[in-house]
């Protein structure tokens, strides 16, 4: 087993130049790949660094678009339904509050959090972190904590899963009644596409590098 001496002679680099694979702990000397390229862990194939051209500005633009879509989608009807002359339409908030009685209220709260609140918080955190970086300013206070939280919340933001859920719901009641899509459904469909693109643009290593202020180096 090599000791600390060995590593410094083998790599000959200060610790801040190294990168350890979060999945398998393999140690590398970090080197930015060309823009558009990817640095991949050769042991477990986790993507470690993947810088994209003008990523910061694009992420900010896309995140603002998602923010506007989610907020406006909340107030428009999502799906509407007709049968025997009776009709009803449901917004996203109606879906989130569908579980309202007793222990089901907790489920309603959880649903609202996963389809609206957590995605919104994540977007605000990302804007808070990236805006100063993109415009070459000093990062805002607590930006690093904000970015870590935005990454930890990622699996719990389920807006896109909700959108697919609508399609399934449609199939399930197709023989019960007629269903139509409201404007919010189309907003959410656009949102799903943007969310997928956005996550693809964000290179966390590049962001962490930008947030590393000189006083923390070395």
């Amino acid at each position: 087993m090599p000791d600390t001496q060995h590593i410094h002679s083998a790599f000959g680099r200060p610790l801040e130049d190294l990168i350890a694979c979060p999945s398998c702990d393999a140690l590398y000397v970090a080197r930015m790949p060309e823009t558009g390229g990817r640095a991949v862990c050769d042991r477990c194939h986790t993507v470690l660094i993947a810088p994209k051209r003008k990523a910061g500005l694009r992420i900010i633009a896309l995140t603002l678009a998602v923010l506007i879509l989610v907020v406006s989608a909340m107030f428009f009807p999502f799906l509407d339904i007709h049968r025997l002359g009776l009709g009803n339409s449901a917004s996203i908030l109606d879906a989130a509050t569908a579980f309202s009685s007793g222990p089901m209220a907790a489920l309603g709260l959880g649903t609202a959090a996963m389809i609206v609140i957590v995605p919104l918080i994540r977007m605000l955190l990302i804007l808070y972190v990236l805006t100063p970086i993109v415009f070459d300013r000093q990062p805002f206070a607590q930006a690093r904590r904000a970015f870590r939280w935005s990454q930890e919340l990622k699996p719990w933001a389920m807006a896109e899963i909700f959108a697919i859920g609508c399609a399934v719901a449609l199939v399930k009641v197709a023989d019960l009644a007629q269903i139509g899509f409201g404007p919010a459904f189309w907003m959410f469909s656009v949102l799903v596409v943007i969310v997928l693109f956005n996550d693809n643009y964000l290179c966390t290593w590049s962001v962490w590098k930008s947030l590393e202020t000189p006083k923390n180096r070395g």
Partner: protein, 216 residues
């Protein structure tokens, strides 16, 4: 990526280099740090409590999954009748109408995938301690699949939420959520937490330890 050393040799890990890596931001530190100075995440060379937490959430998830299958997910009121359907019951009913494809999708999403997830996490946790003949690359891949698929199981709960909000046509037809919606949601959340608790670096440690045992 610069790859120091001979690529034939097993890759040096941060732990073997006497360093501790941050899993949140990939920065490495000397072992005297207990929090990452860059992102503030807690540092642990190997998360020793990891497997206990994996099993605790796993048991909680399985406990919630059983009632999720016994109680109704949806209660449908139409002019003629009130029907409540469990996950499997709903799929059987759809199949009896001839829609075998949709019935199969429901069975795969709500039965096969959750059970597969429980088995996969159990296998990963056991093999992380005991070692396994399955190559670490394959186990890492399995772990990534479990993490990816985990959140998609929530789709069932969202469908129930959408239907209960939408299908409220007074006496003609209305749909209410059943108790299984709650336990199924809890089961999905607990299974996600179980998978997140797993420290995937353990997969690679046992693989390397086994290889060393064999060569010496």
């Amino acid at each position: 990526m610069e790859i120091p050393g001979n690529s034939e040799e097993p890759r040096l890990t941060a732990r073997e280099a006497g360093l501790v890596a941050c899993r949140a931001c990939a920065r490495v530190w000397t072992p005297d740090h207990d929090r990452c100075e860059r992102c503030g995440a807690r540092l642990q060379s190997r998360d020793t409590g990891s497997l206990q937490r994996v099993w605790a959430w796993w048991v909680a998830g399985l406990t919630c999954y059983i009632p999720a299958n016994l109680y109704p997910m949806l209660v449908t009121d139409t002019l003629m009748q009130e029907t409540s359907s469990t996950i499997v019951g709903g799929a059987v009913e759809i199949a009896s109408h001839g829609a075998y494809g949709i019935a199969a999708i429901i069975l795969i999403a709500s039965v096969l995938i959750p059970i597969g997830k429980f088995l996969a996490i159990a296998f990963l946790a056991i093999s992380a301690r005991r070692g396994s003949h399955v190559a670490p690359q394959k186990r890492q891949h399995l772990y990534e699949v479990v993490e990816f698929i985990g959140r998609w199981s929530m789709i069932d709960v969202f469908v129930v939420a959408i239907l209960s909000a939408l299908v409220q046509l007074s006496s003609v037809a209305s749909i209410q959520p059943g108790p299984a919606a709650l336990t199924f949601a809890l089961s999905v959340v607990f299974t996600m937490l179980s998978a997140q608790s797993f420290d995937s670096r353990l997969i690679w440690d046992t693989a390397r330890r086994n290889r060393r045992d064999r060569t010496t």
